[in-house]
């Protein structure tokens, strides 16, 4: 009885720390985005007419003062615009079907609550929800890592994630925070592994796939945890067949999410696979074997265009992520490894057949949280930590300046 109470107290204390630690990192990172945005809006247009022009590019909805207008709409860029349109108009614009529906659906409901005024309600709700969800990402990540590793590593991981070079996508109205919060919840539930947890994990994985197709990678983590709880030699006889079946069945939610979206598309557009076709024809994103991706890259580097800097950055970001995973392979549990490798392989299998083959890949990589864990483990060495944070912070500021100025980042 006393032991139970001690464990409960410890857990409660752990949860409290998670909220507190996440809160501090969250506020500090939001402060960085706010100040960098203000600076970008007020000072940087002096540097370049092009930058000033870019700032106003997407501001179709005007406030009377241009500076206020630019400040307010400074994060309405790229995919945020697509999600905004879907949340208000649905999939009227067919190429938008490439964006999976859960995030714009939530944005739609939130927008209705905020008065249903286009674009303000939907845009603001996207920003607010993305940030709230990112706060939960930090809380869950802390909880997961504090238990799987230790609180010090968990604290470092929060900083590393919140200030990673592409962490601005956890601030913009993108689907990354929602996708990651769902993945982390699934991980936490699968680790606990009580009977109801498997079903809840299945439902959350269903939602994760409805947010991004890459959510399918959770299937491998699910299988791994099922093996851990039920099929390992020392646990094989512990659970009944009924319990095993009850825990295994919810994995069906994962493909079911894909089928749900396909069925919906069939109803509204008459084609089950229209999202794949749109990805193919509009974004030139196709399934590609790794050696063909390499060929695409060689071609992109051989043709001297203005995209060369973007290519260098994409390749560097992806290589660093993969190298980190390879070098830190033994430092993370096997369920983390399975998830990371599945997600990396899935996203890298769909490069764009353009002169920027790895476009967006650095952004996709930030959802592979086990990579963050490896960095956090290495960051026990204070020199590594300082060097790492100095470089990522500098890149984060640069990327934020570019994003606010409507330049392509990822």
């Amino acid at each position: 009885m006393r032991d139970d109470k001690t464990i409960d107290d410890k857990t409660r204390h752990g949860h409290k720390s998670a909220w507190k630690e996440a809160g501090k990192v969250f506020l500090l990172s939001r402060f960085l985005f706010f100040t960098t945005t203000c600076f970008s809006i007020i000072v940087l247009p002096r540097l370049s007419a092009r930058y000033a022009q870019q700032l106003g590019y997407d501001a179709r909805w005007r406030f009377s003062t241009p500076a206020v207008n630019q400040l307010v709409f400074s994060w309405l860029r790229w995919d945020a615009g697509a999600f905004l349109n879907i949340s208000y108009l649905g999939y009227q614009h067919t190429p938008d079907v490439a964006f999976f529906p859960l995030w714009p659906l939530i944005q739609h409901l939130g927008g209705l609550l905020l008065g249903d005024i286009f674009p303000y309600s939907f845009y603001f709700v996207g920003l607010i929800l993305a940030n709230i969800l990112f706060y939960f990402v930090l809380v869950l990540l802390y909880n997961l890592l504090a238990e799987d590793f230790d609180p010090a590593l968990a604290r470092r991981a929060l900083f590393i994630l919140a200030f990673s070079p592409y962490a601005l996508f956890f601030f913009a109205g993108y689907s990354e925070p929602l996708s990651l919060v769902l993945c982390l919840s699934v991980f936490l539930l699968l680790r606990r592994g009580r009977p109801g947890d498997w079903w809840l994990a299945g439902i959350l994985a269903y939602l994760a796939v409805l947010t991004r197709s890459s959510g399918i990678a959770l299937g491998l983590a699910y299988l791994g945890m099922f093996y851990y709880h039920f099929l390992q030699a020392n646990r094989r006889g512990v659970a009944s067949w009924r319990q095993k079946l009850s825990a295994f069945a919810p994995i069906a939610f994962i493909p079911a999410a894909l089928l749900t979206y396909m069925y919906y598309l069939y109803l509204i557009k008459g084609s089950l696979l229209i999202f794949r076709m749109q990805e193919d024809t509009i974004w030139y994103r196709q399934f590609t074997w790794p050696w063909d991706t390499l060929r695409l890259l060689i071609h992109a580097f051989s043709v001297k265009t203005s995209l060369i800097t973007a290519d260098i950055l994409d390749v560097t970001a992806v290589l660093i992520a993969l190298l980190t995973l390879a070098l830190g392979w033994t430092r993370i549990p096997w369920n983390y490894r399975l998830f990371a490798i599945a997600l990396a392989v899935f996203t890298l299998s769909f490069p764009t057949h353009t002169l920027e083959p790895l476009a967006s890949q650095p952004r996709y990589m930030i959802s592979i949280f086990p990579i963050t864990v490896v960095y956090a483990a290495w960051s026990k060495n204070k020199y590594f930590y300082a060097i790492f944070m100095a470089l990522t912070l500098a890149f984060l500021v640069i990327n934020t300046i570019f994003f606010v100025g409507n330049f392509w980042v990822a």
Binding site: T35, F39, L47, R155, Y383, A390, L391, L393, A394, V397
Partner: protein
Amino acid sequence: MKAVRVAWKEAGWVFGLSRLVILLVSYFGIVVFPPKGRSMPLDCSTSFDLCLRVWYHWDAVAYVNIAHHGYTYIPDTAFFPFWPLLEHFGGLLLGGFFPNSYYIAGLLLANICFYFALVLLYHLLAEDFDAGIARRALFYFAFSPYALFFFAGYTESLFVLLCLALFLALRRGQAIDWWLAGLLGFLATFTRSTGIILAIPFLVIYVQRFWSPAERGLHSWRQKINALAPILLIPCGVIAYMIYLYFAKGNALMFISQEANFHWHRQLSFPWVGIVSSIGSVFVTSGVGSSYLQNLLDLGFTLIPLAALALGWRRIPLHYALFALGIVLFTLSFPQSAEPLTSLPRYTMILFPVTAIFALWGKREHFHWVVVVFSLSLLALNIVLFIGHYWVA
């Protein structure tokens, strides 16, 4: 011996990392933003010379000019001579081509001086405080929001190196060290007029070493005079420059008249005049334009060190605190007429006692991260501005 090796190592990695960050941010600044007066960003494959000179702006140009042709342009007399003199010799060693040899010599010298400044800062703080604080201080110093001026061919690196060397010499306090400190004080004053403030820590340490109740009877009069006399070398830096100006230009006080009359319009005032005037401009200016933000930043980076000094006064040795206060009051006493606190953030960034206070507070992890995030993001933005030939400080 081990302590020396640790200082070189600690300074080395902070130095290397900060240079890497500055170069990376510069690269992206060049690639995306056109420099002032151009419509397109620079293409380094076709205009390498222009890319090379992205750090050749503002005072760096004035120093290169002085280094090459001396004080032929009268307003340049506002810049004290030691730094351009070093640049002159460095430029000659690099071939004497104007402006590149002098400009590159300026960059190299500034960075070498800054590396040594970091080594000395570590030495000083590791002994006066502890190794953890010294390490943090190096990081804060090298990544402070205006630390780009330790990279550019400005006087800041040399000046802070001389100040730190003087502090170390004073702390050791052997007979010859007082003369060494005097000589360093002379060179510091020969670099910037604010060097004169070094007389304050000199005097404080002297009194503590020779006139405190415990020490008073331990030293002979000869020792006391030998230690005090070198303080006279500190103002000699200004006097030497005045004599030079008298012979070269016929007016010993020409540097003051140029600061007052040329576009700087800096005149002696009470220290609070600039602050009050700056606060007034913040409230009077309508709209949030870039000059408003510039004013706000100047004011903020004047008040932050002052507030830190007030709050952390008791946590640092007296000579640190008085030196920092002296520098702030001295620089505040010469505000500009148009933008009263312009350049103040650059002048106050050399205040290593304030850095020491931040490093003490940085023991708390969250404070540490607030400082790192805030400083690094502003540093990156300031670099982008500076290399685009926009005014920073």
